[in-house]
Amino acid sequence: MANSIERFSTSERVLHWVVTASFFTLLLSGLGLYSRLFTGYFNLFGGGGNASLVHKVAGVIFFFSSLAMFLLHLRDVASFDRDDREWFAKGGGYLSRGENHFNIGKYNPGQKLFALFVGIATLVLGITGIFIWSPLSFSRWVVQLSLLLHGTMFVGAVMFVVVHVYLATIGNPGTIGAMLYGFVGRRWAKVHHPKWYREVTDDNP
């Protein structure tokens, strides 16, 4: 493993895949509820009633696992330093083919924003989900607003996830290993997250 550095521990990776699995279960079971255009997705679950039940169960799993993931990484993702601002100013180097070097820690500002969005979206989707789950127990306007926010956050989440999946796979070769078996290449770490690289390699010279 001389050429590799551990990026995510086993528990971090398991938690991530629990969130992923429940997210896609929610996506597939929720599409039919979102619009009649997607009624066909109900068939995956054997009808709308089952899909809605699966949506509720997956929703609870997603809420707690995603919230846990967010809170466990809150310290790493909630602060932005001067290097992060430079990253923002240059679009993270994603807007040109030229070489860019940013002095980035364990997470770049794009990843931080994604984590913050997911945290907020989890809270909003979870809370509005409770109102939608039991609409007769709350005022009509609360449920109406919840349906709107739930749908809006869903759209936002799907769009962010498309970008997330792209950047973590084919957009940045060498990245996906971090989430599959926990390790990234030494050079990958040095280029993408130099500040983090120095921290972890100083600990283990």
Binding site: L33, T39, Y94
Partner: protein, 263 residues
């Protein structure tokens, strides 16, 4: 999704509030025809009874009490599903066939197809749908079973004063217009299947002056939904475009560790 009502073929009510004597025969007839259980109610100091629609009460007479010159005035307002031309309930219902429009323009439902999501409760401009003990939608269906057999709905059949006139909606409205009545429900929400002849502003009868699909529901279905589909494909397209134009960030792994195994 396509909720296109054939205006010429629409059947519905013209509720002539001035003719209503508050006898509530309509309530009883509805219960009898639709085999609905009685609800236990309590005296709350008014003759209005029950005080709200329930899963077992598809229609009721709302008593509007007002005082003018020391005397009490009663207005009787027949209340039920309005069978909107553009129905909020049908707009949000995710289960095909659970809420549907008949060829007569009636908003009917099939409890077996209802998936208990209760979106219709939130989307109804008039707060009409209720859920029964089996967690299924329940509301006035304008006696679809009677109407399809050429009969008038039970409530209208029982009405002794012709306050509840049933028939072709266009004809009912034309007749009411000819009689110089103020009509409620002419154009709002694609025209209400239950129109009213009023003698004053709708507010006086406790009716919404300008009924419409709740704003949040409209934004969800007509703004966020199309934008969301656009956003989804837009983000996929943007990623593909990024990959083929700017391309991925490739890292040469072998610069300082030649000969070693690649991680």
């Amino acid at each position: 999704m396509a909720d296109n009502v054939n205006q010429a073929a629409r059947k519905g009510f013209l509720v002539d509030t001035a003719r209503c004597i508050g006898c509530r025969s309509c309530q009883v007839a509805c219960k009898q025809w639709n085999k609905l259980d009685a609800d236990k109610t309590a005296n709350q100091g008014t003759f209005e009874n029950p005080r709200d629609l329930t899963p077992a009460l598809y229609n009721r007479i709302r008593f509007v009490e007002s005082e003018t010159g020391g005397t009490v005035n009663w207005q009787f307002v027949s209340e039920r599903c309005m069978h909107c031309g553009e129905a909020g309930c049908m707009k949000v219902c995710p289960s095909p066939g659970a809420l549907y429009r008949t060829k007569d323009g009636i908003v009917a439902y099939n409890k077996e197809k209802c998936i208990s999501c209760k979106y219709c409760v939130s989307a109804c401009p008039f707060n009409v749908p209720r859920y029964d003990s089996n967690d299924k939608v329940s509301k006035c269906h304008l006696c679809t079973d009677r109407v399809s057999g050429g009969m008038a709905p039970a409530c209208s059949k029982a009405c002794p004063t012709e306050a509840l006139k049933f028939g072709n909606r266009n004809q009912l409205i034309a007749a009411a217009k000819a009689a110089k009545k103020t009509i409620y429900g002419l154009d709002s929400l694609g025209g209400l299947g239950v129109a009213y002849a009023l003698e004053g502003p709708p507010e006086k009868y406790g009716l919404l002056a300008n009924p419409q699909i709740p704003t949040a529901i409209f934004l969800w279905k007509d703004i966020i939904k199309p934008l969301g589909i656009l956003g989804f494909w837009g983000s996929i397209g943007a990623m593909v475009l990024h990959y083929v134009t700017i391309g991925p960030k490739r890292i040469e792994e072998d610069v300082d560790n030649k000969g070693e195994n690649h991680g």
